[in-house]
C-alpha cells in the first residue's frame, strides 16, 4: 500500500482550515489515519488514495459535528497557535482571524466544499464523491459558499480600517 505518511501534510492543512484549531485538526488526522489503517482492505485500489483519505476524514468530521453541535469552534487570537502567513505580522494575524471566523460561520458542508476545491484543488467530481453529493449540488453549494464568504469577509469588522484584507492579498498576486 502507498505510503500514508506522504499524505499527512495535506490532511493536516485541510483539517486545520476545517476546524480552525491545531489540536482538533491533528486529532482528526490521527482518527483518519487510524481508520484508514483499519479499513485499508476497503480501499479500492483503482481509486485515488487521497480522495479515499479525505472521504474518511469527512465522515469523521460530520460525526463529530453531529455529536457535539454545541461545541462551536471559537476562534480567538489565543487559539492561533500556529504562525499565520506574512511572517506573523499583525496584519497577517488579523487577516487569518477574519478568515477563520468567517469560515466558521459557513455551514460545515459549505466549508468542506470550499476548502476541498479552493485549498485542496480537488476536481468537482472528486468532491462530489468524497461528500457523497450529486455534482450539481456541489456546484451550487460552492457558489453559495463563495458568495457568503465574500460578504462575510467584506463585512467583517477590521481592527484597523486601513488594513482591508484585500490589500495584503494583492501583494501576493500582483
Amino acid at each position: 500500500m502507498t505510503d500514508l505518511a506522504s499524505y499527512i501534510p495535506r490532511l493536516r492543512r485541510y483539517a486545520r482550515a476545517l476546524t480552525g484549531n491545531r489540536e482538533f485538526a491533528d486529532d482528526l488526522v490521527q482518527d483518519t489515519l487510524e481508520r484508514a489503517l483499519r479499513k485499508w482492505v476497503l480501499w479500492r485500489a483503482g481509486s485515488k488514495i487521497d480522495s479515499w483519505l479525505f472521504s474518511i476524514m469527512h465522515n469523521l468530521f460530520v460525526n463529530q459535528v453531529r455529536s457535539a453541535p454545541a461545541r462551536q469552534l471559537s476562534v480567538s487570537l489565543d487559539d492561533l497557535e500556529f504562525e499565520p502567513a506574512g511572517q506573523g505580522s499583525a496584519e497577517g494575524v488579523l487577516q487569518l482571524r477574519d478568515l477563520l471566523s468567517s469560515l466558521n460561520k459557513l455551514s460545515h458542508d459549505q466549508r468542506e466544499i470550499l476548502l476541498l476545491v479552493g485549498l485542496e484543488d480537488m476536481s468537482y467530481q472528486e468532491v462530489a464523491r468524497i461528500l457523497e453529493l450529486p455534482l450539481g449540488t456541489v456546484m451550487s453549494r460552492l457558489s453559495r459558499a463563495r458568495e457568503q464568504l465574500r460578504s462575510l469577509l467584506d463585512g467583517s469588522p477590521k481592527a484597523d480600517a486601513e488594513t482591508p484584507a484585500l490589500r495584503l492579498i494583492r501583494t501576493s498576486s500582483p
Binding site: 500514508l4 492543512r13 490521527q30 487510524e34 485500489a45 479552493g118 456546484m139 465574500r150
Partner: protein, 254 residues
C-alpha cells in the same frame, strides 16, 4: 444573442476561477467579464479567496509532522495480528478435527490434492478472461445458483464476501473427474480475482480440515464439508486467502 457575448453561467465562472477552462473558454469569459463589471468583481473576489486560503494554510504543509501522526502512518497496514492468530488457531483446530475424524475416509487426502490442482488450473484458465470470465453473471445470481445446484444434484450456494472487498461476478459449470463442477468468481476493486471451486464428494464425508496447496502462483485452500468439496484459489498471500476461506466457511455454516 448569438454573438460572442453569450451568457456565462455561474458554473462556468467557477471553472474559470478554479483554472479549469481551456484557453478559448478563458478568453471568452474574460471578454464577457469585461462587459459585466459586477460579475467581474465576483470572479475576482472568488480568486482572492483561493489565494487567501493558500496564504493562510499552506504553511501547515511545511510544519514538522507531530510524532504521534508520523508513527501511526509508518505502521504498515496489515491484517491485525490477533485476527491472524485466530485464523491460525482455527486452522490447527480444523487440522486436528480432520486428523481425528479421518477414520475410514483417510483416503480423502489424495482426492483433496487433486481437487486443489484442478481448482488451481481452472482458476488460471478463467480468471484472465476479460470478456467472458463467467457464463452467468452475478446479476442473474438466483438463476446461476439454481442452475448449478441442479447440475451438481444438490444445493449449492454462492457465498458473499463483499465485506472483505470481493464481489461476486458470476460463475460457470466445468467438467470434473466424476461429474460437473461449479466455479464462482469474485473480484476486488483492483481487478484481482478469486475463484471458488465446488464439487460433490464421491461419498458422504464430514472431513472439514482446511488444507493449503500452492500451484505455481496460485494459492489454494481446500476443504470438504459434508457432501461438497470446496477450493478457494487466488494469487494472494496465504494468510489473506486463509481469512477469506474462513469467511466462506462461516457463511456456508452460519
Amino acid at each position: 444573442m448569438r454573438n460572442q457575448t453569450v451568457q456565462v453561467s455561474t458554473d462556468e465562472l467557477q471553472h474559470f476561477v478554479d483554472g479549469r477552462v481551456d484557453d478559448a473558454g478563458r478568453r471568452r469569459i474574460e471578454i464577457w467579464l469585461h462587459e459585466h463589471p459586477q460579475e467581474k468583481q465576483k470572479a475576482e473576489a472568488w480568486r482572492r479567496q483561493r489565494q487567501l486560503l493558500h496564504d493562510s494554510f499552506d504553511d501547515v504543509l511545511s510544519e514538522p509532522v507531530p510524532s504521534r501522526l508520523a508513527e501511526l502512518a509508518s505502521a504498515r497496514p496489515r491484517i491485525k495480528t490477533w485476527a491472524l492468530a485466530a485464523g491460525l488457531a482455527w486452522l490447527s483446530v480444523g487440522v486436528l478435527i480432520g486428523y481425528f475424524m479421518r477414520g475410514p475416509t483417510v483416503a480423502t487426502v489424495e482426492p483433496g490434492e487433486i481437487l486443489a490442482r484442478r481448482a488451481a488450473i481452472a482458476h488460471a484458465i478463467y480468471t484472465p478472461e476479460v470478456r467472458h470470465p463467467v457464463e452467468v453473471g452475478a446479476e442473474q445470481e438466483a438463476h446461476l445458483v439454481s442452475w448449478l445446484s441442479k447440475r451438481l444434484e444438490q444445493r449449492v450456494r454462492a457465498p458473499h464476501f463483499n465485506s472483505q472487498g470481493y464481489n461476486l461476478i458470476g460463475g460457470r459449470l466445468l467438467p470434473g473427474d466424476d461429474g460437473p463442477v461449479a466455479q464462482f468468481m469474485y473480484q476486488d476493486g483492483s481487478g484481482k480475482r478469486l475463484t471458488l471451486y465446488v464439487r460433490g464428494t464421491p461419498e458422504e464425508t464430514t472431513v472439514t480440515a482446511f488444507r493449503f496447496a500452492q500451484e505455481d502462483k496460485v494459492s489454494v485452500f481446500y476443504w470438504i464439508d459434508g457432501s461438497l468439496a470446496y477450493a478457494l484459489s487466488g494469487e494472494i498471500p496465504r494468510e489473506r486467502l486463509l481469512a477469506l476461506s474462513e469467511a466462506v466457511y462461516h457463511e456456508l455454516n452460519p
